[in-house]
Symmetry: C2
Amino acid sequence: MDIQKVTVAGGGVLGSQIALQSAYKGFDVTIWLRSEGSIERAKPKLERLRGIYKSTLEALKTDPSAWCRGLTDSADVPAEKIDELIARVDAAADSIKLTCSYDEAFGEADLVIEAIAEVLSEKEAFYAEACPHMAERAIVCTNSSTLLPSAIVGYTDRPGKFLALHFANNIWKNNTAEVMGQPATSASAYQAVVAFARAIGMIPLELKKEQPGYLLNSMLVPFLNAAEALLANDVADVETIDKAWMLGTGAPLGPFRILDIVGLSTAYNIVAASPDAANPDTTAGKIAAKLKSYIDAGKTGVNAGEGFYKYR
Amino acid sequence: MDIQKVTVAGGGVLGSQIALQSAYKGFDVTIWLRSEGSIERAKPKLERLRGIYKSTLEALKTDPSAWCRGLTDSADVPAEKIDELIARVDAAADSIKLTCSYDEAFGEADLVIEAIAEVLSEKEAFYAEACPHMAERAIVCTNSSTLLPSAIVGYTDRPGKFLALHFANNIWKNNTAEVMGQPATSASAYQAVVAFARAIGMIPLELKKEQPGYLLNSMLVPFLNAAEALLANDVADVETIDKAWMLGTGAPLGPFRILDIVGLSTAYNIVAASPDAANPDTTAGKIAAKLKSYIDAGKTGVNAGEGFYKYR
């Protein structure tokens, strides 16, 4: 099918990025928001992104290391072409429609990307309200990180046209898009979403079946957990563990640098979900206690200026 | 203590590398071998390494990417200095003594590095025979990857001076040395080994307590296992899983490239050791079956020219 009109439901961190990236790559984009208040809160997010997109492109004129894979196909772009792209960012940001009308948002959409809160009851309420306003042809994707599409599909009216399209934060830079169907997803809807992901400058990563955590987190969580266990069991210090990983595998970042980026609160929530975490004698309990000691000291990661390492 | 005379027990892959690297960095090195036959088998290994060390240094004259951290402190070395280092490789290789006499090998050693087969009964027999020949001052390290030093220390006569010093393959390039004591290891012996590791061009990674798998493998095994599970459960293909890891973390290699380097037989042995592996319905059973299908087809990794990827 031919996707032209895209509606993003939700204007949060990811919703605003998906909207601007899609508009930048030439799609006709609407953001649906629950209220006028949400519209006002979404606007400064889009303005901030507009600035980041433009300054990143501007930097690329003199610094190839500024290259972000979602913005241009290569780092080698002539300055005049970059000026065109900067103008395109402005046109894209100006073109995005924000509305809380279901009809206006969903009536003509070819593709709907739902990026609302990760709360099943909120997803349920959203799909129950929104689906009746959508055209039959519309494909619907959830950007959920933690809920499987099979847990959500029952709230929609289109099992064959419902799947997950999962973005990473800072999508203009970290341009992977994990595509994951549920058992009823049709091959044509799946492939249309893969093509759309590619069309907005993403590298689609195709999952053949449902997997909690998709691909990246399915590997990252056990890896980070193993590193956390070494620290919590006092086998070695942060710097030594990171060095072992970087020197042993050639990776640019060790596990504790990655944890600082992910954020220690997220890491804590993952380990705290394990039943063992309540028992301080288990490895999970020791990891939870160790992470909590950092969090209680305000060291929650890069965004706080300090986590396992200092960034101030 | 002052370490000058180093004896390496065993002339296998790692033993020969540890011996040449130590001699190259100025130590007086002896290799103890079990028999005249073992001496004859060790000689070509040392000659091969001599050639690798010399050609790597020669390449560094024109190609900074040839730099190996164990050979020079930086990639920026003047050609005359490199010629001196090449001469030093020859002098080092020529200086290494090979013997099957316990007295000759161990009588004057300040440091003994045991790198014999990973079989507990062989370790037991070795230490029972060798320890009585050693000076009281001698520090003894095992290079064992799979046995903890506390499992071996009882065969020695020097609990305070016994610990693990664990090298990676191709130590002139992968120059990490994990240093791990057992409960009775003295702080002075531990620190002497850390200093020795540094003196032979290694980056010492200090473990504060015993940990099966040391640091690197403690993280690598669960990470690779998670990637193998994604493949064995048919969630995605090899290339997609590798791409997810590389794009998501900036790593130069995905898990299946790493598995090709590690070797699929080693990966198979690790998963086959799990009790679940015998049941084909479990994830471990599916991983074992998947790895076995590659191994049966001769695709055991980089060394075979093909594993998950082709290298021919």
